[in-house]
């Protein structure tokens, strides 16, 4: 202890005190304060940037979700529209088929009716022609065969025999 006290130099103590206090003040003003301020600024900057990035990420997520929802909706709409179109098409085809069938049936009916009519008319024509022909034949036969009585009778008989009308 005595040597410790003996070694203590008041002059050195005084010099050290002055220099250290000046050093603390100078460094505080020109070094520590700006350094610590910039460090804090930088740290808060990094923190801000990180939180901004996080926010952007969240927004991005929201956007993606929105996009997905929209796409889904659009897809659903498209599907619905396509389904509707398909239905309309099927319906139209069915209708057209129906119509066509109807028209065909009508046509066939008309055709059949007209065929019958034509047939009837033709038959009537034929009958008339046949009657006329028969009359003509009869006339000519009569004219020829009527020269004899026997012939005439014979002819009538033969003719009647051949011509069996409906």
């Amino acid at each position: 202890m005595e040597t410790l006290l003996n070694d203590f130099s008041p002059g050195l103590f005084f010099m050290q005190l002055i220099i250290l206090v000046i050093l603390i003040v100078l460094l505080g003003k020109f070094a520590w304060k700006p350094i610590l301020n910039s460090l804090e600024e930088r740290e808060s900057g990094i923190e801000d940037a990180l939180s901004a990035a996080e926010e952007a990420r969240k927004e991005m997520q929201n956007l993606t979700a929105d996009n997905e929802r929209l796409a889904k909706e659009a897809r659903a709409e498209r599907d619905a529209m396509m389904k509707e179109a398909r239905e309309i098409r099927d319906k139209m085809i069915a209708e057209a088929k129906e119509d066509a069938k109807e028209v065909t049936t009508k046509l066939i009916e008309t055709a059949q009716a007209s065929i019958v009519q034509e047939k009837q008319a033709a038959l009537a024509e034929i009958k008339k022609n046949v009657a006329e022909l028969s009359i003509g034949i009869a006339e000519s036969v009569i004219k020829k065969e009527l020269s004899s009585k026997e012939d005439q009778l014979k002819l009538v008989e033969e003719t009647l025999k051949n011509v069996t009308l409906n």
Binding site: L4, D7, F8, S9, P10, G11, L12, F13, F14, M15, Q16, L17, I19, L20, V21, I22, L23, I24, V25, L26, L27, G28, F30, A31, W32, K33, P34, I35, L36, S38, L39, E41, R42, G45
Partner: protein, 377 residues
Amino acid sequence: MKIAKKTIHFLTIVVLCLATTSIFASGSDNKQHNQKDGGQVNTQEEVKAYIEHHLKDSHDFSLFSYTNDEGERKHVGFPLPVILWTSEGLVTFMSSEFHHNDDGHLLVEKKGLKFAKIHSKIFELDKGQSTVAFDESHHATNAHKVLDFSITKSVVGILFTGLLIFLWFSKLARQYKTRSIPKGFGRALEPLVIYVRDEIARPNIGDKKYRKFMPFLLTVFFFIWILNLLGLTPLGFNVTGQIAVTVCLALLTLIVYITNGSKDFWAHTLWMPGVPVVLRPILAVIELVGFILIKPFSLLVRLFANITAGHFVVMSLIALMVTMKEAFGPVASTGMSLVLSLFISVIEILVAFLQAFIFTMLSSLFIGMAVEEHEHH
């Protein structure tokens, strides 16, 4: 790069000083070294005296000394100014006037006063005395100490360290104006600043109040650390091993935490709540003694003792090559000395940081205790 350049400039100046002053300082002084070997250090006692001399502050900056062929002791280094406050007022002269005499035989006369240097302390002789008289325990009987504000080797070390810290960190501070991440040497300094802030100040003082104490803590941390490291260089500084320096550091810590003590701190120190009233004054005395004497004392003694012991051990191990020469032979003793002193030097580099860390850590712990505000129940 610029910092490195500046440091090189500074070193160049130092070397130039050496070159110009060493001629002046190397004047022969074989008078005082009247041993036959010309003042070589080669016995156990001489080694002990040499180490003791090194551990003390010195008035001149001597780098090494040798004995030339004529048996003259030559010292290489440069003198430093001696500034004294004596009974006649201010007296200044260069330390070279003592011619490396350290036992009080050489007297320097200024303003009619005679000064002698005895074991690195400057004494003023009492009026009418012409030589220093010693008693049996080698204390001067007819001389008294003077107030010595000399620029001693330690003051040079302090100034050098202060300048170094200021250059480094003001440069770092200026870098932040143009860039957010420093480059070059600043990149190495920045994590140290962050380390002191986040590992030492913040956990001990608290997030709210630490800012105010950062200049003190940072300055003290780097000051002690660099001076500790400087003490391990061959320049032979022993600044943080000077009791005056550690007293000053501890005193500043004391002042800082006493002047910033919160109301709660004083209330708890002087009138401890929750304790029987009879015990309170006793506790107050114990607490006060703890805060004002024991805590700063532990700070100053820890730093002083660690650094002094470190220097002592390193120098003793280096001296092994001399003291063990007869027992083991020159090669073995030199090898042993080299290995051991290398080993202990590595530990001392760790201790240099550790002591700076502990001093700053405990300072911020004490400050934290003083500024803490208790939650009221």
